[in-house]
């Protein structure tokens, strides 16, 4: 039970009459020579770390190593507590959580790379926000993580998830594609709709550069995670509404990879272009000496 592309994944889902998460579970058991109990245990630990990393900064501000971020999640939570949030409950929570996870990450706290540390906020943020709003049990949320894992695996196999290779579109972009696909499955969508949503995310985030101020995983990474969540939610909504996606996931992934490799090196995690090269960022960082 293995698949090399989105098309093969959908064919397997059709043949076995099952969801993407089920295919991914069976693949893990077969190729990893392990049991469903074992992988459920490991994924439960992943979920536990994710949940803790979305919650901690709302209670206690986490100061980052580089000093560029800290306290954003608490501000968002306070704003919402005053009934002043304009995003609606799911997105408002998800944005807060995404910012929170990056706060934990930047302060050397415990996170799950999903698929990278720099994009670790998107998947937990959207899944946990949906869980709260729709009372999704943990066991179903684990399905969401396996679904997200399938999309991330295809990106790692057939393209890249490294900002240094493909820009932020490959990091936060792929994370958001994973989250969108998982959200569609959790909300009752079909496998094809999951990959449509993933494709839409990559389309809408195409070309996004990786330009961390001072070379640190802080700014604009944190805000980009929040934006990634919004992109994921929009794409999932489109897919669940039955809006067709013209470009199949595999083709969009290839397009993302091609664009990524054409980005000049200044815009691929070297901190030499984009946000990192603005006068304000340079003044704050002072790294070039």
């Amino acid at each position: 039970m293995d698949f090399r592309s989105g098309a093969e994944l959908l064919a397997l889902c059709a043949r076995e009459d099952c969801r993407i998460s089920q295919v991914m579970r069976r693949r893990e058991c077969a190729l990893g020579e392990t049991t469903d109990d074992e992988i459920r245990g490991r994924m439960s630990r992943v979920l536990e770390i994710m949940r803790e990393s979305t919650a901690r900064p709302i209670k206690t501000v986490q100061r980052s190593m580089g000093g560029l971020i800290g306290g954003e999640a608490q501000r968002l939570a306070a704003h919402a507590a005053q009934n002043r949030a304009i995003c609606g409950p799911v997105l408002q929570r998800a944005v807060t959580y995404a910012m929170a996870v990056l706060e934990v990450n930047a302060s050397m706290g415990l996170i799950v790379a999903a698929p990278t540390a720099g994009s670790s906020g998107v998947v937990p943020a959207l899944l946990l926000a949906l869980q709260e709003e729709y009372h999704i049990p943990d066991q179903r949320l684990l399905d969401g993580l396996f679904n997200a894992g399938a999309v991330g695996y295809l990106a790692m196999r057939n393209a890249t998830v490294a900002g240094s290779v493909g820009g932020c579109q490959a990091e936060v972009g792929v994370a958001a594609a994973m989250a969108a696909s998982a959200a569609v499955e959790l909300m009752g969508g079909q496998p094809g709709q999951c990959l449509d949503a993933a494709s839409t995310v990559l389309m809408n985030m195409l070309g996004l550069v990786c330009d961390p101020v001072g070379g640190l995983v802080e700014y604009p990474c944190q805000s980009r995670n929040a934006a990634g969540v919004a992109n994921a939610l929009v794409a999932a909504e489109l897919a669940l509404s039955g809006v067709p996606q013209l470009i199949p996931f595999d083709e969009m992934l290839a397009a993302m990879y091609n664009v990524g490799r054409r980005l000049p090196s200044e815009l691929r995690e070297t901190a030499l272009g984009g946000c990192a090269a603005t006068p304000a960022a340079c003044q704050r960082c002072g790294g070039c000496g």
Binding site: R45, V46, M108, A114, A150, Y153, L216
Partner: protein, 222 residues
């Protein structure tokens, strides 16, 4: 691990902020420590490329030292590794080398000295996502990742040694996934690296050492 697991995508579980600069650094140092008999007395790290430029802000230094102390990528003690190393009487130093630039951007040399006075230098490269590669041991180019259990045999470059190694492995019913031979020069020191699925039997080390041409044997279990 020979395939991309769902836990390679949703993982590693790690102390932030960077899978390449923090988690990968801890993994490299964790592999390096397995190549020399404990306890360690002193360790010197030389950082290259992006490691040299941004190591402080990424906690690369704490992660490297944490790996040497045996901490996994998700062990929060990584944050306190300087203090813990001091408590354990381990001397350490970090040096940035920004003049050598034709290396992989995330490269580190780890020079370790143990209480017995043995010295071992290991070069590791962080490939992203917590994936790493050991590319040099004591100046000899090698190549292994730690994803498989690895047997590293240091021996004289002379006929019959590899036959002895494979004989011992065969007697223990070990299935070889990859086997590679590296050497300094003809007739000098050679390194045989054998990677295998699952754990390697611990008692093969003693049996391998029975051959007078074999100088040292290291087991790095996956």
């Amino acid at each position: 691990m020979s395939f991309i697991s769902v836990f390679d995508v949703l993982g590693p579980n790690m102390v932030g902020p960077s899978s390449s600069h923090t988690a990968g650094a801890a993994v490299i140092a964790g592999l390096a420590r397995k190549l020399i008999a404990p306890p360690l007395k002193r360790v010197d790290f030389t950082l290259y490329g992006s490691f040299a430029k941004t190591y402080h802000g990424h906690g690369t230094d704490r992660a490297l030292l944490g790996g040497i102390l045996g901490f996994d990528t998700d062990d929060l003690r990584i944050r306190e590794s300087f203090r813990i190393a001091n408590e354990r009487g381990l001397t350490f130093a970090f040096t940035s080398n920004e003049t050598e630039t034709d290396l992989h951007p995330n490269t580190v040399d780890i020079c370790m000295e143990n209480a017995a006075g043995q010295v071992m230098t290991v070069r590791g490269v962080s490939l992203g996502g917590g994936k790493v590669k050991i590319v040099r041991i004591n100046g000899v180019e090698v190549d292994f990742t730690g994803e498989y259990s690895a047997l590293i045999v240091i021996h004289r470059d002379t006929p019959g040694v590899v036959a002895h190694i494979t004989q011992v492995l065969s007697e223990h019913n070990v299935n070889i996934a990859f086997m590679r031979l590296f050497r300094e020069a003809k007739g000098y020191t050679a390194y045989s690296i054998i990677e295998s699925d699952g754990n390697l039997p611990d008692d093969i080390s003693g049996q391998l050492r029975g051959n007078p041409n074999i100088r040292d044997v290291m087991l790095v279990q996956s």
